[in-house]
């Protein structure tokens, strides 16, 4: 009897020890009962949707007090600039979810939020900050990681976006997802487009003498009609910003080249070479804008009429003379000069570089605020040539006072800044 008792005691002890050891192993998903598949799907969907709203719409609830908020990695705060700056801006999410924003209701922005999956059932969800800190931005751990086809593997990898993770403490469950960067680009409808201005169009805009001088030259692109049937293009709505380029520099290991003045981050990056522009666009899974796509944006073919340009200007009173321009007149994410497609900054403080396979010597759009309104180069889609270099080596083709000889003149980066934007072409879709 005693022997049996010893055996039972020993077996029981082993069982108890086994159970204690087993349940002391921290395997969270085994310790808490996971909700049903339907319920968990709902929690994931609504949680991801909450983060996605902040990603694509920025401060869409108008809850942040930007006057009182200070988040250094944002550079300039939206109290002073267009709120477009907040959309698809990973730094905004980083500041938001690491409690760096002051809300109008007196609270701090938080990494935690609640999801109501029914009238009576709420779940608390947290955005995990588990990615390594990036010293040039902040010492805090990151809530996101940049993902891109140029960095990652896999056929389903987005051309460019961020990966994030939500954590539901109650069930010790975390879920990862990717947010694509779609905010600042728009789709070019499939149709015919015009490229280059006809001499007739120029004639309407220029003095007789000037037109006669121009027609003596051959330095005008041949107007063409082309179409994008079966091809899918998306065009960047805004010029590439310094903040965009800073991230590219970081991935290249060129941290020392990152623009140190954070005030400049939301503004277009300038003074790059053509190769650097191309490399940046490639990093984003894109290509530098072409002259044909530039014209597709700024020309609008009215039904049953000749091709006519239409630039929807919201601010005709903006200074037209370069004398009135300075850093204070620059606007980050300016929407003052919009195209019919809903793309912007077609007339700004910059010349815009383009690629031009059809007429390679015309790769710099001079339509800008830099030139007086009546300057012969200041016409929509007028282009000249640029040697693709930056700094002191940068030169563009210029004409003498009577539009005679074309000559190459050095560009002064402090006076003529060259900006750029990218486009993306996708394969055929089913």
């Amino acid at each position: 009897m005693a022997r049996w008792f010893v055996w039972v005691a020993m077996i029981s002890s082993v069982a108890v020890i086994t159970l204690v050891v087993y349940f002391s192993i921290p395997v969270p998903h085994l310790m808490v009962k996971r909700p049903s598949s339907e319920k968990l799907t709902k929690i994931i969907l609504l949680s991801v949707n909450e983060v996605q709203q902040l990603w694509t719409k920025g401060d869409y609830r108008r809850e942040i007090d930007f006057e009182k908020s200070h988040c250094p990695e944002m550079g300039k705060m939206p109290a002073e600039i267009n709120r477009e700056y907040l959309r698809c801006n990973p730094h905004f999410l980083q500041c938001y979810f690491t409690e760096q924003f002051q809300k109008l209701n007196g609270e701090k922005s938080s990494s935690k939020f609640k999801i109501a999956i029914s009238k009576t059932e709420k779940w608390e969800v947290e955005v995990s900050a588990q990615e390594d800190a990036i010293a040039v931005w902040s010492t805090k751990k990151r809530v996101y990681r940049t993902v891109a086809r140029s960095l990652d593997q896999g056929e389903f990898v987005t051309p460019y976006g961020i990966a994030m993770e939500i954590y539901i403490a109650e069930i010790s469950f975390s879920y990862r997802f990717i947010l694509e960067n779609l905010c600042h680009q728009t789709y070019l409808p499939e149709q015919k487009y015009d490229y280059g201005q006809t001499l007739d169009q120029l004639k309407k805009k220029m003095s007789k003498d000037l037109y006669e001088n121009i027609t003596k030259q051959t330095q005008v692109e041949t107007p063409r009609i082309w179409d994008n049937r079966g091809r899918f293009f998306t065009i960047d709505k805004f010029l590439v910003t310094q903040q965009d380029y800073n991230e590219f520099l970081w991935f290249q290991g060129k941290e020392n080249q990152i623009q140190s003045n954070a005030e400049k981050w939301p503004f277009p990056v300038t003074n790059l070479t053509q190769v650097e522009m191309k490399d940046f666009c490639h990093f984003r899974g894109k290509r530098p804008l072409t002259a044909a796509l530039y014209d597709a944006n700024v020309f609008f073919r009215k039904p049953n009429s000749e091709n006519q340009f239409e630039l929807i200007s919201r601010n005709q009173l903006f200074p037209q003379s370069p004398k009135g321009l300075n850093d204070k007149t620059k606007k980050a994410f300016s929407m003052d000069y919009a195209s019919w497609m809903g793309t912007f900054q077609w007339k700004d403080h910059y010349f815009e570089a383009v690629e031009n396979a059809w007429d390679p010597t015309f790769n710099l759009s001079t339509f800008s605020l830099l030139l007086p309104a009546d300057h012969p180069w200041n016409h929509i889609a007028y282009r000249t040539g640029w040697n693709g270099k930056s700094g002191e080596g940068s030169k563009m083709n210029s004409a003498n006072s009577i539009w005679g000889m074309i000559e190459s003149i050095p560009l002064n980066p402090s006076k003529v800044e060259i900006a750029f934007r990218c486009y993306q072409e996708f394969g055929e879709f089913f």
Binding site: T18, E38, K42, L45, G154, V157, G161, E180, R287, A357
Partner: protein, 321 residues
């Protein structure tokens, strides 16, 4: 002492066998959540359009019902998980098995069986949609009958496919029902626009890496150093599998002029119009004109830079000289 060790083993087996069943369910739910491509095998043509499979159609002892790919996100890498669902008929009983693998051919013997749903009579797999919290989601619904206390009852399991807003079956594939709208991008439309859902569970635990599936662009844009991703011959027959969806920065098409819309596609950008480069072309409208006769030196539809001559007879496609 002899009984202690077996007892210990028994208890461990008991505990971990329960755990195994639990984890199996978790895994397949999560993996399908991150699925982004479905290929339906042996799709019966005479069933309603949403029915993917019904046990009534099973003719062989073992049939692969569908294959799928899911995106997983590990700590530092992304990877694709391959899976399939197999139906086995043994002694008049059906067994459904989910297989997953990080290898390309997912239904091979190297696969891990992660979940077996035993003895499911009268099972049917359908594609349905459901609105969850105001968001439209596609799901695979597995309906089956099972005897409970001597009574046959109907059951169903839902597997949510969050990477599809609305899916439809076309030619044996599950495809996103995409409407191309003006000003809307042609991006993949998941349940929430611009979100890619992943197979999170596998992602956190996966360690094995797979070879890159992306075709990296070489820093060149000149033929013949470009990476070819698709090609059609003069008779418009495909010469190779189309891999252009793997290109890092999209692809460029060079038309050879003999097959209307098709030609050779290269990953990345192809410089056109320059010396020894293909001519630039102005779009399909030109080529689809009724009087289109292929590449012509007299045509304005094919562009070479000033001073260069278009050679329509050059191989493998027209060139500017």
């Amino acid at each position: 002492m002899k009984i202690i060790f077996p007892t210990f083993l028994f208890l461990f087996f008991l505990i971990f066998s329960c755990d195994k069943h639990f984890k199996q369910d978790v895994v397949i739910d999560d993996i399908l959540m991150g699925s982004y491509e479905f290929q339906l095998i042996n799709l019966p043509s005479d069933v309603n359009k949403n029915a993917i499979y019904s046990s009534e159609f099973q003719k062989k002892p073992e049939e692969v019902l569908l294959r799928f790919k899911s995106l997983s996100l590990t700590d530092k890498k992304m990877k694709t998980i391959y899976g399939c669902l197999i139906s086995q008929l043994k002694e008049g009983r059906f067994y459904l098995t989910w297989h997953v693998s990080d290898l390309l051919d997912s239904c091979q013997i190297s696969d891990k069986s992660i979940s077996t749903l035993a003895d499911l009579s009268g099972h049917e797999l359908t594609l349905e949609s459901e609105v969850i919290g105001g968001i439209s989601v596609s799901k695979l619904k597995l309906s089956y009958r099972k005897s409970v206390k001597g009574e046959i009852k109907n059951f169903s399991l839902n597997y949510y496919l969050l990477n599809w807003k609305q899916a439809e079956i076309k030619e044996g594939r599950l495809l996103p029902a995409r409407q191309r709208e003006i000003f809307h991008s042609p991006f993949f439309k998941s349940s929430i626009e611009g979100v890619q859902f992943t197979a999170s569970f596998m992602g956190k635990n996966a360690s094995k890496e797979i070879p890159s599936l992306v075709i990296k662009n070489l820093p060149v844009s000149h033929y013949p150093d470009l990476v070819k991703c698709a090609e059609w011959d003069d008779q418009c027959a495909p010469v190779m599998d189309d891999k252009c969806h793997l290109c890092q920065q999209g692809y460029s098409q060079v038309m050879h002029g003999k097959c209307g819309l098709h030609g050779i596609r290269f990953c990345g950008t192809v410089d056109c119009g320059g010396k020894n480069k293909p001519p630039c072309h102005l779009g399909r409208s030109h080529i689809e004109n009724e009087d289109f006769m292929g590449c012509s030196e007299l045509s304005e539809e094919w562009l070479c830079h000033p001073g260069l001559i278009l050679d329509c007879s050059a191989k493998p496609f027209p060139l500017c000289h």
